[in-house]
């Protein structure tokens, strides 16, 4: 293979192999000495946000019902003669799949019979088989999955905040769709989406842990079917700068009310990878568990230990988030915004930042600790056109000036709060 590339990082003393397979598929391999299990992911750059797309053979863009990427994930496990779970049962591997906003991945984890498991994975994902009856049968199962999430305040508070932030961005639509939208999905639509997105040029195979790289490549050569590049393009609609609503509430049975505060940033922020690390460091320094804000809010009873800050970003969306439980959500919202305002004037405490820098770096070391984490990180990095080590390098080099510059851009008023209470 001429395009085999070794990606190495001296700081953490780790490396992996990346190559563009002749089939079109990108393959990332990281054998890890001493581990007893291997973890493999076969993923498509296809998630719930990709509901409007075209290939070069299509005259115009088509918009499909929401929840179709997830429906497809469920259905792909069933082939013409057998379902993939039954095949994995013969090897003992643990198998699963997930659909997120911007990707779908099929996975297995195994401690034996690696080659057989990889063959099962590559075969079933490349052999779709949908009939009217099997598509219909899945509807009941997915409806129950949707209803299960509808009862979870943590899930609702999250999606309600996305609906409040965005006017048009499809990230605001539930990944599994709605009971109504999935009723419109049929086998022809599933085939159309499959043929557009499950093209190997749009896919990554990522394997880490206890396995033999040469054996994996031999199986790839044998089973990955060469795919012509279809010239796939997707559309993330134009999004106004401001948030759609400042506050949304829902009533659901539960404990202490949940809140999620979301600060809206231009979609383009997601394309600059270092933003992820820089904004995380900023949020932790300003509002995280070692901050003055956290101590005051915790000791006064405004927040409890569930309070946390994070960056929510992916293909075409970027938000800074503060969430948790509180009995006074409006007060938390005001307190968070005024702390950001205060810090803009007073400056970020350097001592706190130095601690957060080590914390961010320390947490990222954890991302190389398991086969599952490594396989996921290699795949995610590939979909974001970077490599697995870029975040830890950014974290090791971040300066107070970097995050102070991000703070200056922070528009704390371009935000909303979502509340779920009983």
């Amino acid at each position: 293979m001429t395009n085999k590339e070794i990606i190495r990082n001296e700081r953490v003393n780790e490396q992996y192999v990346r190559l563009k397979h002749p089939s079109g598929c990108t393959v990332c391999l990281c054998p890890m000495e001493g581990f007893s299990s291997a973890y493999a992911l076969f993923g498509a750059k296809y998630g719930s946000v990709d509901d409007t797309f075209k290939t070069k053979a299509d005259a115009d863009f088509v918009t499909v019902p929401s929840g179709i990427a997830h429906y497809l994930e469920h259905k792909l496990f069933e082939n013409e003669d057998c379902d993939a779970f039954r095949l994995y049962a013969k090897t003992g591997a643990g198998a699963n799949a997930y659909t997120s906003f911007d990707k779908t991945a099929y996975l297995f984890s195994c401690s034996q019979k690696f080659a057989e498991n990889l063959e099962i994975l590559l075969k079933f994902v490349q052999e779709p088989y949908f009939t009217d009856a099997t598509v219909q049968k899945e509807r009941g199962i997915i409806s129950q999955e949707i209803k299960m999430y509808d009862d979870e305040p943590g899930w609702r508070v999250f999606f309600n905040s996305l609906e409040a932030v965005y006017y048009n961005n499809p990230v605001k639509i539930n990944i599994a769709g709605t009971v109504e939208s999935i009723a419109k999905i049929d086998k022809d639509l599933l085939y159309r989406c499959y043929n557009s997105f499950y093209n190997l040029n749009n896919m990554v195979l990522s394997i880490a842990g206890n396995f033999d790289a040469d054996e994996a490549l031999e199986i790839c050569d044998r089973l990955l079917k060469p795919s012509p590049d279809l010239g796939l393009s997707t559309v993330i609609p134009e999004e106004p700068r401001g948030v759609k609503e400042k506050m949304v509430r829902e009533k659901l049975p539960g404990g202490v009310p949940l809140f999620q505060i979301a600060f809206k940033f231009p979609n383009g922020h997601a394309a600059v990878r270092e933003n992820y690390v820089h904004y995380n460091a900023l949020l932790e320094t300003a509002l995280g568990k070692g901050s003055k804000f956290y101590l005051d809010a915790y000791e006064s009873g405004l927040i409890n230990e569930t309070f946390g800050v994070s960056v929510f970003s992916g293909r075409g969306f970027f938000l800074c988030v503060a969430d948790g439980e509180t009995r006074e959500p409006e007060r938390v919202f005001e307190a968070v915004k005024s702390e950001i305002k205060r810090l803009k004037k007073a400056g970020l405490p350097e001592d706190d930042f130095n601690g957060i820098k080590k914390k961010t770096y320390g947490e990222l070391i954890g991302s190389f600790a398991s086969a599952k984490a490594v396989a996921s990180n290699m795949m995610d990095a590939e979909f974001e056109n970077t490599d697995m080590f870029s975040d830890i390098e950014t974290a090791a080099g971040v300066t107070l000036d970097d995050i102070t510059a991000k703070l200056a851009e922070f528009d704390e008023e371009n935000s909303c709060i979502s509340i779920v209470e009983s």
Partner: protein, 432 residues
């Protein structure tokens, strides 16, 4: 001092009823030291015991408030000081642990693990006190935090349903006492009663210190042995679980709530003591994506997204649970029981047995790939006085015969059915 060297696990008693166990494995990049207090679940003590680890991880003499402590942990490369409370059968465990990155990753040559252990020991043994009790402000904050945590159990309906079912299934036994305490119980806790609970735990709880990671933990052993040598130990607890008696008649309980999806849990008790066969039986019945419950209740009948069964060897109970449309509850219940009847009458194939064996094998072989997986495995088995490696457990499962599985299934009886279902009222006004 007694020492046990067992396939990588080195275990010794370092003081009366205090055991130090370590597993060193070079492939890890982190180290985790867990200090676990074990005591019999008691409704009069559980609430105070549950607040104690929250108070201890809030601050200590060296780090007198949450900010000082959290800043220190951040600068120690995201060292994670955590507390958890739960149960192992009839026993409440109160765990305080620290997880640190290995020293080789220090940017400025710090000894991350030994500094982390100093923090752990400081929090455990040098809490902030005033007038012979915990500080009032800290106690009140952490009581509030514990109450929030108990109330938040309702946020995850599945967790809530399991909790309610176990309370009913094990009624009258210690295992029915919620390990996190109750809202009423926590409200009654005072700085003095929390401090008394803390003192009592240090005096008489069984203590299991479990270290897992790439370090050899010699510094951890020296530091913690020295630290616990100051404790006065009396009447140390043994902590065992006993299976409870089957109710004379199956208990049915329904609770109504404003939910989209109903949830049902069926609690069974096993009269037999062949726990290996019971575990294999549960795996075939409802423990994988090719189990009887998954294939029939989910795939064939499309009734559920999840339908599965789990076995708890400590109490010899099996729990089958599912999320289902309210109109389909009865259909699902009948099918879940019909599938168990098949297990009792030998209605499972050799292939299903072999699949279960392979799946258990895969589950157990991956235990050793994570710090928390290893720590949890050994704590559970030390507790059951059945210290085996995952490999030895696999060999025992693979030796289970069809006859033993049938016998195990026959010994299982339905004790409790709990259903959380939607209110009959409409759901208008959900959204303001």
């Amino acid at each position: 001092m007694k020492t046990l060297n067992f396939l990588g696990l080195n275990r010794k008693e370092i003081a009366s009823g205090i055991y130090f166990s370590k597993i060193t494995d070079a492939r890890f990049k982190h180290n985790r030291v867990s200090f676990c207090l074990l005591t019999r679940l008691d409704e009069n003590a559980a609430s105070a015991n549950a607040v104690v680890p929250k108070i201890l991880t809030n601050s200590c003499r060296d780090y007198p408030d949450l900010r000082a402590l959290n800043k220190r942990l951040s600068s120690l490369y995201a060292a994670r000081l955590s507390e958890s409370v739960g149960n192992l059968g009839d026993t409440q465990y109160i765990d305080i642990s620290i997880k640190t990155a290995d020293d080789r990753y220090a940017l400025e040559g710090e000894s991350i693990l030994s500094e982390g252990i100093d923090i752990l020991a400081g929090c455990l043994l040098e809490p902030l006190t005033e007038n012979g009790a915990f500080k009032e402000s800290v106690t009140e904050n952490e009581k509030r935090s514990q109450i929030d945590q108990i109330e938040a159990e309702l946020n995850e309906k599945r967790v809530y349903v399991i909790k309610r079912t176990l309370e009913l299934l094990c009624a009258g036994e210690p295992a029915a006492v919620p390990p996190n305490g109750t809202v009423e119980g926590v409200k009654k806790v005072t700085p003095l009663t929390a401090f008394a609970a803390y003192k009592k735990l240090l005096e008489s709880a069984r203590i299991e210190i479990i270290c897992v990671g790439c370090n050899d933990f010699s510094v951890a052993e020296t530091t913690l042995t020295r630290a616990v040598s100051r404790l006065k130990r009396n009447n140390t607890e043994d902590c065992v679980s006993k299976p409870g008696a089957l109710k004379p008649e199956t208990l049915y309980r329904e609770e109504k709530m404003n939910v989209n999806q109903s949830k049902m849990a069926l609690g069974f008790k096993a009269a037999g003591d062949d726990v290996d066969a019971l575990a294999v039986m549960t795996k075939i019945y409802g423990g994988s994506a090719t189990s009887k419950l998954f294939e029939n209740v989910r795939e064939k009948m499309s009734l559920c997204y999840y339908c599965l069964a789990k076995f708890d060897a400590n109490k010899r109970i099996m729990l089958a649970e599912c999320g289902v449309e309210s109109g389909d509850i009865e259909k699902a219940r009948k099918e879940i029981l019909a599938q168990l009847d098949l297990m009792k009458t030998g209605g499972f194939t050799d292939e299903e047995m072999s699949h279960a064996g392979l799946s258990l094998q895969n589950d157990l072989k991956t235990v050793g790939d994570s710090l928390s997986g290893m720590a949890k495995w050994y704590l559970g088995h030390i507790y059951m006085r059945d210290v085996v490696t995952p490999e030895q457990a696999i060999a025992r499962y693979l030796a289970v015969t069809r006859e033993r599985i049938i016998k195990a299934a026959e010994s299982v009886s339905l004790d409790t059915v709990y259903v959380l279902t939607e209110r009959d009222t409409d759901r208008k006004g959900r959204r303001k």
